[in-house]
Each structure stands twice: as C-alpha cells, then as structure tokens.
C-alpha cells in the first residue's frame, strides 16, 4: 500500500509538471508554424519565422524597447535595493518598522492599483507618458524584490571576514570592493535577473504608463485581438531558451555543491 502511494505521488507530480509545460510547448511549436497571416491553425513546419524575425511590423522595435527598459530599471532597482538590504541587516535606525512596511506594501498591492496610481500621478503632474515613465514604474516595483533577495545573502555573510580585512589595514572602500561586494555578488546577480524578468514580462503596470510606446508584452496584448504573428512566438521562444540555459547552469552548479556537501 505504501509503495503504491509513493508511485501515485510521483506519477501525479510528473503529470503536473507536464501540464505546466503544455502552453510553453504550444508557444514554441507555433513559432515554427508556416502561418502566413493568422497563427492559430497548424499549417506545416517552417524556419522562415526564425530567419526573418523582424518582418512582422513593430515586433522587433517592441522587443528592443523591452530590453532597454528592463536593463535601465534593473540597474536602478538593484542599486537602490541592495543598499536598503545592507542597511536593514547591518544597521539600527529609527522607523525600521515603517521602512519594512514601505518595502512590503508594493508587493501586496495589485498591479492594476500600482499602474493606475502612477498614471494618475503622471496625469496630475502633466508628465508625458513614454519610455521614461515605464522605466520609473518598473524600477518602483522591482526594488522590493531586490531587497528580499539580497537581504538573505547579507544576513548569511560572516562579519568576521570584513573585520579581518579592517584588521589588515584595508580602507573602507577596499573592504567593500575586495570582501563584501564579491561575497554578496551571487545574491545581487540573482536579484538583478529577477528584476529583469519582472520588468520584461510586465504588462499591467506598463499598459497604464506607456502612452503610445510599445513593449513586447504590450505588442502581444494589442495584437491579440487580430492574431499574434508567429514572429512574436519566435522572440518569446528564444528568450525562453536563453533563460532556461542560464537557470539550468545555475541549478546544476547548486546540485553539484549540494552533493559535495552531502559527501563530505
């Protein structure tokens, strides 16, 4: 009975993982569809969509905008978020509870409220919407996620290592660049990747603050009514494969470390 139960759980998990994968497989498969105008019915295999991605009007421009916005918002959010994470772990200060709440609230607020709020503010202040307002919006919602991610890394950092650096007459900036920063780097990189992913795939907040500018998700949303060109599937599939390679490499390293630790 026990054995059977274990196999049932394993079988369920495999089916569940396959289920999660269905729309991904669908999207990748339809990037190879010989679709011509509407990419809804399968009409045969072709590589044309992959070799001439930018043929669909506006899709590459939207993709370029998304990359630009993602990179700038990630740099800004990672810098500010990392600083906050260090302050939260290392220092005592007044209004600590208020700061924590301020960081938690954006994650607990529905995106539609964040988007409408910023749009109302830009409207009142007379700020024209465009790439700039999208970057401002994305940086805002990425900060909290950076803090959560980096904070764990700072908490796990042994302060004795920095003390050792100071004992050996390293200047504060040397301690930061030679000891603290390299040790925090994996956490900072993870936070930056998370920020970029959040920014790149965001639609709801973008839609409220983009004006006439298009990002990749907004392009898909607008095109959804008349049919998504296969070129959009190509871009999404290429991004997917790239992200998968990065994460699989990172996870393989993690598994290897875990095994080494288990052995020793």
């Amino acid at each position: 009975m026990r054995g059977l139960g274990r196999y049932a759980l394993a079988a369920y998990s495999v089916i569940a993982l396959v289920f999660l994968f269905i729309p991904i497989a669908y999207t990748v498969a339809f990037s190879f569809n010989d679709s011509r105008r509407s990419n809804i019915v399968w009409r045969g295999f072709t590589l044309d969509n992959w070799t001439s991605v930018c043929q669909a009007q506006g899709v590459c421009e939207a993709f370029g905008n998304s990359i630009l916005i993602g990179v700038v918002a990630t740099v800004l959010a990672t810098a500010m978020g990392t600083a906050i994470a260090i302050a939260l772990v290392r220092y005592r200060f007044r209004f600590r509870a208020a700061t924590t709440l301020l960081l938690f609230l954006p994650m607990a607020t529905p995106e539609v409220v964040l988007g409408a709020g910023l749009a109302a503010e830009f409207l009142t202040a007379g700020v024209p919407k465009g790439i700039g307002t999208i970057i401002l919006a994305h940086t805002m919602f990425c900060i909290s996620f950076v803090v959560v991610t980096v904070r764990a890394r700072v908490a796990g950092l042994d302060p004795a290592l920095e003390e050792a650096g100071r004992d050996l007459y390293a200047s504060p900036s040397q301690v930061w660049w030679r000891v603290t920063f390299p040790l925090l780097l994996p956490g900072i990189v993870a936070a930056a990747m998370l920020s970029f992913a959040l920014s790149f795939d965001d639609f709801i907040i973008t839609n409220f603050n983009s004006g006439a500018e298009t990002t990749f998700p907004k392009y898909i949303y607008t095109a959804a009514a008349r049919g998504i060109p296969a070129e959009a599937n190509v871009i999404a599939s290429a991004v997917f494969l790239l992200a998968l390679v990065i994460v699989v490499t990172a996870q393989l390293g993690r598994a290897a470390r875990k095994r080494r630790m288990a052995r020793s």
Partner: protein
C-alpha cells in the same frame, strides 16, 4: 514572479528571524536607505495619494471628456459600487477559487519535490526548473495558448462534445471556467515555490517520532506536516490571491474571458484608459486595495504568521 527570492532565500516567513541582531547606528545607514526610500515615497506612496485625490474629483462643467477638477465627491464611491458590484464580487470569488485550486494542485507537487526528491538533488533541481519554466515565456502568450487550445473549433471542445461532457454549441472560452482555469494556471508557480521552500526544510525525524508513537500517517500529516509548512501555504496563497484579484488579462475578451466574466481590473482599465473616467477608475482601485489589505491582514493574523518580508 518572486521565484528568485524563494530559491535563494529562506521561506519569507522566517527570513526576518534569520537576520542577526543589527548592531550599529550610523549615518551610513541613512545614506544607504535614502535613495530607495525616497524613490518609493515618490513613485509608490505619492501615486496612492494621487489616486485618493482623483477618486473624489468631479467633472469640469462644460469641459471635455477626461477633464476633472479637485473636489470632495465621495458619491463617486457609491456610484462605482452600485455599477460595478458584480465585477467586484466576481474578482474576489474567481481569485478565491483559483487560489484554492492552485493550493490543491501545488501541495502534492511541492511535497514530492521538497521531501521525496531530497535524495536526488539532480532530479530536485530539474523539477524546480520545470516549475519556474513558465516564468521564462511571456505570460500573455501562455494565456493565448490556452485560449487557442480551448477554441470552439479545437480538438478539446470536439472531444468533450463527443463524450457528452459539453453540450453541443457550448463554449469553453469566454466562460467563468476558462477564466478561473487561466488564473489558476498562471499563478501555480507562486503557490508551489513557497510551499516547496517550507517543506524542503521539514525535519523528517518529527514524522518518524510520530510513527514511533503509533500516530496514523494521516494524523502525522495533518498535525505535523501541514502546521510546519504553514508559512509556505500562507505566502503561497497571498502571492496567488493578490495578483489574481487584480488581474485583467485572463478575464479580458481577447484572452480567456468575455464581457460576462469582466473582473474589477478590466473595469479599472476600461475606465482609465478608454472612457477616461479617472475618478471611477481611482475609486475602484482604492476599494480594491482596501478590500485586499483588510482580507490579507485578517488572514495573516488568523494564520499566526507575522513577518512576511
């Protein structure tokens, strides 16, 4: 989309406890905090204030569409509740249903990955990658993929009609079913990852002790495994419920919904971006946020988990 946080960090419930006691008081702290805190004040808090102000505005007399002036028209709230009560109700019931379904779907999967696969780090990593894989491909395209699979001329509708599960002429897309399905699917990883994070640390010796004391396996599950994974369940349900209640992609006409499934997010979008009825969009946003904050605090207090960040 908080997968990085959950793979890297301890479960959100215990993250704060892991911090060593902060030691120093210094001006450096202020310098580190200031840019980010100011940024959030300007681009998170100020917009909320601006939303509250907008929600009380009144139309400019003889003005164009979309022209409003500062006022204290609290009746705006009455008007939106009267007009959009079904949408508000729908948002919360769809979100609650999707959260419950995602929990039922995710718990066994998270248990398998976090407990049963402990002996196989490679398979465990692979399974985790598969759970987060949907995040790497556009949310909108995934939702559209389901729409196309559920289409009237698709094989699924045909198959269901052949076995008489679906009456002839009935649809799958544009129904509450497809919207709740889409919400559930899209937020499953948000549920699975935090539950996995708490189950991964579950000390199996507690279960052995229960077994030694002649507890039935079901008793051990309900009295040990579930309580110890509660922080993960709480984070998972919040990470699913909050975005699901405000979502307007799944319920949108061009995706899995129809006008009969419109949720509060759809109405906020339409009022803000199409009808330019900013006060209506703003008062709905404030109501949505207030309702979510009340529900979330009640839930967090009841479940006894305090630190979420």
């Amino acid at each position: 989309m908080a997968f990085g946080a959950f793979l890297q960090a301890p479960a959100p419930g215990v993250a704060a406890a892991a911090d060593p006691a902060p030691r120093r008081r210094s001006k450096v702290a202020l310098l580190l905090l200031l840019p980010g805190v100011l940024y959030l004040a300007v681009f998170f808090l100020a917009p909320l204030v601006s939303l509250v102000m907008t929600s009380f505005q009144e139309p400019v007399e003889f003005g164009d569409i979309g022209q409003y002036q500062t006022a204290f028209r609290w009746e705006n709230y009455l008007a939106v509740v009267e007009t959009y009560a079904p949408h508000i109700f729908r948002s919360f019931s769809y979100a609650a249903l999707a959260t419950a379904l995602a929990l039922v779907f995710s718990y066994p999967l998270a248990y398998f990955i976090g407990v049963k696969l402990r002996q196989a780090p490679f398979l465990q990593s692979l399974a985790l990658v598969l759970v987060v894989a949907p995040f790497f491909i556009s949310f909108l395209l995934r939702t559209l993929a389901w729409k196309q699979m559920f289409a009237d001329e698709g094989w699924l509708v045909g198959a269901l009609q052949t076995v008489q599960l679906l009456p002839d002429g009935a649809h799958l897309t544009g129904t509450p079913f497809s919207v709740v399905f889409g919400l559930t699917y899209n937020f499953i990883p948000f549920m699975t990852l935090p539950i996995y994070a708490s189950l991964e640390r579950l000390d199996l010796r507690y279960l052995e002790a229960a077994d030694d004391l002649y507890a039935k396996r079901s008793t051990a599950f309900w009295r040990i495994t579930i309580p110890l994974s509660l922080p993960g369940i709480v984070s998972g349900t919040l990470l699913t419920f909050i975005p699901a209640a405000g979502d307007y992609i799944n319920a949108s006409r061009d995706f899995l919904g129809s006008t009969e499934t419109a949720m509060v997010g759809n109405v906020i979008e339409a009022n803000f971006l199409v009808l330019q009825n900013y006060p209506a969009a703003a008062s709905l946003s404030i109501l949505l946020m207030a309702a979510i904050l009340v529900l979330v605090s009640a839930y967090v207090v009841r479940s006894g988990t305090k630190d979420l960040l």
